[in-house]
Symmetry: C2
Subunit: 221 residues, 2 copies
DNA sequence: CTGATAACATTCAGAAGTGAATGTTTCTAG
DNA sequence: CTAGAAACATTCACTTCTGAATGTTATCAG
């Protein structure tokens, strides 16, 4: 009951960090999350028991249980861990989309760099959200943080009035297209995937060009 | 061991169908598959035990076990059942795409009619395919059948040389976009979804118009 | 240096799920 | 009308997973 309050008080008393112990703890936590994501990716979420994850992390099941009260806790944390890990890549991709010339290769690179296999674990967890309110809340919280960061990048590249009106929604749709592509990789060959991207290239690149031409421009009202 | 051969011989001897018994059997099978898909959709594949599915189907666990030797068998069959059930909708959607005027509402209708919630079960099963070769084979077999049917519709609407070269790949990408949209519905409001569709409408509709203008035309070589 | 506490480890009991094994009923061919 | 097979039902044994309970070790404030 009062654990949370006690801990807060202690943390306040000691300052924000107490490195040695805390550091070890956070490393264990990180190892567990990394192992969880790797396990989800390679064996599937359903097949990833907490025991298997702890084993892969090289910690005991007890350590896992110390950090995460339940399997759901772990998954919720894994969602955050995955998103945090891909923030950099997403930021880089956005900059690239609106600075590099929109050639067909650009889309191939986006597909390869910005949509790594790790996303399969994300899709599985996203679908879990459908039936787990707590996971859905965790997802929303994390994706909101990601959206804020994305918006900051876009505000650098575009004048404010344009961002929410045209660039943001297009980027969402653009991302959705690649999410669909990524999902279908499960049952497609790489050649088929490339063919689909190639088929959609003209329209996407055209819109990209149109948006690029608006960079730095301002729109009144 | 010889069950398969014996059965084949018997079927050949008696003709392709022996209705009354066979009918009851197939009805049970269908109920199981329907229940499985409903369960997958409403509770998630992971949470859908064979017992729960049998219960929902209103049959005993024994009946289930008689029809499907393993849980994987059931899922493989469910993949086929889901695809078979959506064939008609897909065919109708394709006809609609290339006959109706490409207005923004068209895309909203496509989203609503051609991508029902039932697809969430499909996405979960698709992701299972990543770690289950048998499921992947089942998926490929079914989706090939679906592709053949789709091609037949397209050949009606377009002269042959165009189908594989331009129309088919575009349709794939078009579908991928909506798959991504559908997937993200898990963590989006309907308003957000509509905004994304609206943002992508111009480019998609333009391409659709371009393809429509090729209907009935022929290309030599 | 010492008590308190966080971090980690081990054991345990209960729940659930799967498929094999073994009945029982219903139907149909001959 | 009867043998036999298919459809359906029940029971059972086995494994696996999870989280609670409880024990041990390492760190730090005073």
């Amino acid at each position: 009951m009062t654990d949370g309050r006690d801990r807060d008080r202690r943390v306040r008393r000691l300052g924000v960090r107490h490195p040695p112990l805390q550091a070890r703890s956070e490393e264990t936590r990180d190892r567990l999350l990394e192992a969880a994501l790797a396990c989800f990716l390679e064996e599937g979420v359903a097949a990833s028991s907490t025991a298997r994850i702890a084993e892969r992390a090289g910690v005991t099941r007890g350590a896992y249980l110390h950090h995460f009260g339940s399997r759901e806790d772990l998954i919720a944390a894994a969602i955050g861990h995955l998103m945090a890990g891909t923030m950099g890549s997403i930021e880089a991709t956005i900059r690239r989309l609106f600075t590099e010339p929109p050639a067909p290769e650009l889309l191939l690179h986006v597909w390869r760099d910005a949509y790594p296999d790790a996303y399969f674990a994300g899709y599985e967890m996203m679908l879990l959200c459908r039936h787990a309110p707590r996971l859905r809340r965790a997802w929303k919280q994390q994706s909101d943080a990601l959206a804020r960061r994305r918006r900051r990048v876009l505000l650098e590249l575009f004048p404010e009035p344009l961002v929410d009106g045209r660039v943001n929604p297009f980027l969402e749709g653009f991302a959705d297209f690649f999410r669909g592509i990524k999902l279908m990789e499960v049952v497609r060959t790489e050649a088929e995937t490339r063919a689909v991207i190639a088929a959609m290239s003209p329209v996407l690149l055209e819109e990209l060009r149109a948006l690029q031409s608006l960079r730095g421009a301002t729109v009144d009202a």
